[in-house]
């Protein structure tokens, strides 16, 4: 049989998607379906004096208008809960409709339901809200200053948490008298995730059964159902079904439980008819959880030979107005724990202040914490190499954790299970033609004009979220296993019910490859069911590069159990002992006599007919696994960006991008490359163009795609990819995860490249995004300073 695992098999998802037949949430129409439009705060911070819905209710086609008072009257809990906790975390309430205060532009205040979406929007504009505007805290550092406007009375000074990791005393000692001390202030710019499909919810309540079916743009329908039932809508999980149909991208934004789906469900429950809500792009920009927004001071201590002695970082992490689902975990567990990078660093200390501001909540966006950590580590490495006059590649090489040191216990809680960093660095240098580019750079520096820069990023990530024990030991109070229920049908077809819920990753294809490889059945006989709490018992969903490593491993484990049961049935059919049965190419036979055997069809049919089974053999052929990984997985690699700077106008042009990644074993190379490509585009976008901007009153200036610059095809280049393969030692597939690698490694590769190009001007650092204006100003300032000296 042809090899299926490790092969670029075309996606089975695609025929529906290239012909427009894929059904996304907003494509679905139900009988008697009404439309909701949500009235949102235009102010970052205000008291609500009153809400008058009279005019809205009188408008044509309007069925209802609701405020927080109606939620209270209906007796719903009406809250949006946080999903992950930290020690001493402040958890102020987040009502699904604002009760007396709005805390960010876009905060939901009221909802109008009408016969169609046009009429709903018309009427929403007629809801009169009497606001008393107040001052806003916007910047995470500024929000902690004395006298800053307060977001929640429960969190004095706007501090949600003060979190530390690593050994402070040991780290301070490393900084006591180092030969070299590198210091930099960094701002990791705020991102808006921008899945191209806006969020949407279609709630259908049936009062005769008391049941709610919610079709939702979600990366994790079970998590959404759980949070909704825990705190929002007052229904038990047995009465709620959440379905993820086609989901048009997520990048983190569709993990989180938002007020909007609770509001839409509430409307449907009140009216006893289906209600749909679909965000406009301006709504998504103001309400999809944003990403990053760190203000950090980062320091590196090195000895005279360029060996790292210690790393110290202090970060203000903007959490926005409320704690979003995973909000507190991102700048802590997924950030501080990654600060050792690929390096043997003997002392690390990290302090993070999680800060409430009057801005959109901040949560996981592709990479989630790990790009921020990589940015700190690799910016420091770049600056250190410059400061010490050591080549960029050489300084990294000197400090890499050596291949024989694994498993390697870092100073920041994680134990890296495997790694081999130099081959990826070497391959990246070879692919980019490092020496030749350095020679070209030297020539250009002496001749003037456009300059080139090379930026390295030797990154690590912790994927496969999340080993329950490890995150539990850090105080998370929740693990992140995954489930897989594999059922062999009576005619030999295989149905897999997985808790991983895709939104573009191609799970139906790759998971089929796993099963086909394990069982030896043709791929087209494997069916993958996902994204429906009515069909899949439970699941944690797709994010954190976890679907292959955790969801796929759960499927592989279930397939192993199926094989064991299959052997027992085959042994019965072949009148042999189960230990003498082997499975090859989909056929069970007795060892030594491969001619005589039975296939999955025979075994499966007998499993269900089961009229003459021995007493110790149960009918049926099904296996369930709840797979909790032993550790994170640790993909790594080296990326190199090559940029050209036009000093006259400050324009940065990306010339080339080389990425050598080690994501462990690969199920489908074409899909893995596609994941890297997409991550790179987002990370390069962050470095050069993307930026969520608030003014000092808390207005979101980048509220639409007219103002927020997403990368376009002509801004990017053909990416040059390669891989090294260091399999994950602790999961059954040896896979590590690939969804976020590109977004983690690339921002700092690009920034380092631009800073490399600017080094003749003595420019050390410019914050992202590196717009032409910022680069131009940095060059002019440097030249003015030089002229004055």
């Amino acid at each position: 049989m042809a090899k299926v695992l490790g092969t670029s098999i075309k996606r089975r998802e695609d025929p529906a998607l290239v012909t427009g037949r894929g059904k996304y949430t907003d494509d679905i129409k139900l009988e008697r379906m009404a439309h909701a439009a949500i009235v949102r705060s235009p102010y970052a911070h205000a008291k609500i004096r009153g809400i008058d819905t009279t005019a809205a209710l009188a408008a044509p086609g309007v069925l209802a208008a609701y405020t927080a008072a109606d939620v209270a009257k209906a007796g719903l809990p009406g809250m949006i809960p946080v999903g992950w906790l930290l020690p001493d975390l402040k958890t102020p309430a987040h009502p699904m409709l604002a009760i007396d205060t709005v805390r960010h532009v876009g905060d939901a205040v009221a909802v109008v339901v009408a016969e169609n979406r046009y009429l709903a929007r018309d009427a929403a504009d007629l809801v009169a809200v009497d606001y008393d505007p107040l001052g806003a805290a916007v910047d995470p550092k500024g929000a902690t200053a004395a006298g800053a406007p307060q977001v929640h009375p429960e969190a004095p000074g706007n501090i949600a948490f003060d979190w530390e990791l690593g050994d402070r005393a040991k780290t301070d000692a490393a900084f006591a008298k180092p030969a070299h001390h590198v210091v930099v202030d960094l701002r990791n710019n705020r991102l808006i995730p921008h899945a191209i499909e806006p969020r949407s919810a279609l709630a259908s309540f049936d009062s005769s059964k008391g049941e709610l079916t919610l079709t939702l743009t979600t990366q994790n329908p079970h998590v959404h159902r759980l949070l909704m039932c825990l705190a929002s809508i007052g229904l038990p999980e047995t009465k709620v079904r959440v379905i993820a149909p086609e989901v048009g991208g997520g990048f983190g934004s569709k993990i989180h439980h938002y007020a909007d789906e609770a509001i839409t469900s509430f409307c449907s429950m009140q009216l006893d008819r289906p209600v749909k809500w679909t965000a406009t792009r301006t709504e998504t920009n103001a309400t999809d959880a944003h990403g990053r927004d760190h203000v950090s001071k980062a320091e590196l201590a090195l000895d005279a030979a360029g060996r790292i002695l210690g790393l110290r970082v202090h970060t203000y992490a903007n959490l926005g107005a409320y704690l979003s689902t995973f909000g507190p975990s991102v700048p802590t567990y997924l950030y501080g724990t990654l600060l050792s990078g690929q390096y043997a660093i003997p002392a690390i200390h990290c302090q993070v202040l999680g800060v409430f501001t009057h801005t959109t909540p901040v949560d996981a966006v592709r990479g989630a914490g790990r790009p921020e950590a990589t940015y700190v580590v690799e910016r420091l490495l770049h600056l250190a190499a410059d400061q010490l006059g050591i080549d960029q590649a050489e300084l990294r090489r000197r400090n890499f954790i050596p291949p024989d040191a694994f498993p390697f216990q870092t100073e920041v809680a994680l134990q890296y299970d495997s790694g081999n960093y130099e081959p990826a660095l070497d391959r990246a240098l070879e692919m980019v033609g490092y020496q030749a580019l350095r020679a070209d750079q030297a020539k250009r520096r002496s001749s003037g004009g456009k300059q080139i820069g090379l930026g390295l990023s030797s990154y690590i990530e912790a994927c496969g979220l999340a080993p329950s024990k490890v995150v539990g030991s850090l105080g998370a109070q929740a693990g992140l296993w995954e489930s897989a229920d594999v059922r062999v049908q009576p005619t030999g077809g295989v149905t897999v019910y997985t808790g991983s819920s895709p939104h573009g990753q191609g799970h139906e294809t790759t998971f089929s490859q796993i099963v086909a490889d394990k069982l030896g059945v043709p791929m087209d006989q494997v069916q993958i069911i996902h994204g429906d709490t009515g069909q899949v018992q439970f699941g944690m969903g797709t994010y954190g590069s976890r679907s292959a490593a955790v969801g796929g491993s759960a499927i592989a484990r279930s397939a192993d159990k199926i094989i064991e049961k299959g052997k027992r049935i085959a042994a019965h059919l072949l009148e042999a002992a189960a230990e003498d049965i082997e499975l090859a190419d989909g056929k069970f036979s007795v060892k030594g006599s491969p001619d005589k055997g039975v296939g999955w069809g025979d075994v499966a049919l007998q499993a269900y007919l089961a009229h003459n089974f021995p007493e110790d053999l149960e009918p049926g052929l099904q296996a369930v696994t709840f797979y909790d990984p032993a550790n994170f997985t640790y993909p790594f690699g080296t990326h190199i960006a090559v940029v050209e700077i036009d000093p006259e106008i400050g324009q940065v042009k990306l010339l080339r991008y080389v990425a050598v990644d080690d994501v462990g074993n690969v199920i489908n190379p074409m899909i893995v490359d596609g994941q890297i490509h997409g991550g790179l585009a987002q990370g390069i976008g962050q470095a050069l163009w993307e930026n969520a901007v608030y003014d000092e009153t808390g207005q979101l200036v980048t509220a639409s795609l007219m103002d927020y610059a997403l990368p376009r095809a002509h801004n990017l280049v053909a990416f040059e990819l390669d891989r090294t393969v260091t399999p994950c030692p602790h999961n059954p597939l040896g896979v590590k995860g690939v969804g976020e690698a590109g977004a983690i490694a690339s921002p700092v590769a690009v920034v380092n490249a631009v800073m490399d190009a600017l080094s003749p001007w003595g420019i050390r650092h410019v914050d992202m995004p590196l717009s032409a204006e910022k680069v131009w100003r940095a060059i002019r300032e440097a030249e003015a300073k030089r002229a004055a000296a």
Partner: protein, 159 residues
């Protein structure tokens, strides 16, 4: 007050009474049930709603249905010949030119317009021709590959 429009959508004659403010994309999606045309931004930036009007790529979120009166509209549903995919659809599948698929109908129709007036574009021309279509999943790498691949297949089929 509603106005009558007559147009051809995917080769079928369509006659409807529409409100003057009805956007073409909503007419296609909600009145005709052609939900392959997606809405991503409603400011004509993202291009998910791209359709062909009289052969030209147009953003249907920024056109009124009334403006399409008397035209021939092609949506993603009208591209394949029965079960036979259009070469651009084939190429997107073969080259992994899509992930979540949301931008894909618009991308494919923009590509169809490009190839209708420039049958053998360079990669650079392809990238520039896609400036009105945003994709957040693929980094465009495989979309460019797919369109180039389609252009080779289509021009070798006609030559």
């Amino acid at each position: 007050m509603k106005h009558k429009i007559e147009l051809e959508v995917n080769g079928q004659k369509v006659e409807r009474e529409v409100e003057p403010r009805l956007l073409l994309v909503h007419f296609l999606r909600e009145d005709l049930g052609l939900t392959g045309t997606n809405v991503g931004c409603e400011t004509s930036i993202c291009g998910a709603c791209t359709v062909l009007i009289d052969g030209k790529a147009v953003k249907s979120c920024s056109q009124l249905a009334l403006q399409a009166d008397g035209t021939k509209v092609t949506t993603i549903e009208g591209l394949a010949q029965g079960s036979q995919l259009h070469p651009i659809q084939e190429a997107f599948w073969e080259k992994h030119g899509l992930q979540c698929g949301y931008c894909t109908p618009g991308m494919i129709l923009s590509a169809a317009y490009l190839l209708s007036h420039s049958p053998r574009p360079s990669k650079d021309e392809i990238r520039h021709a896609l400036k009105g279509n945003l994709c957040r999943c693929t980094g465009y790498h495989n979309i460019v590959e797919a369109i180039e691949h389609a252009s080779h297949k289509m021009s070798s089929a006609t030559s």
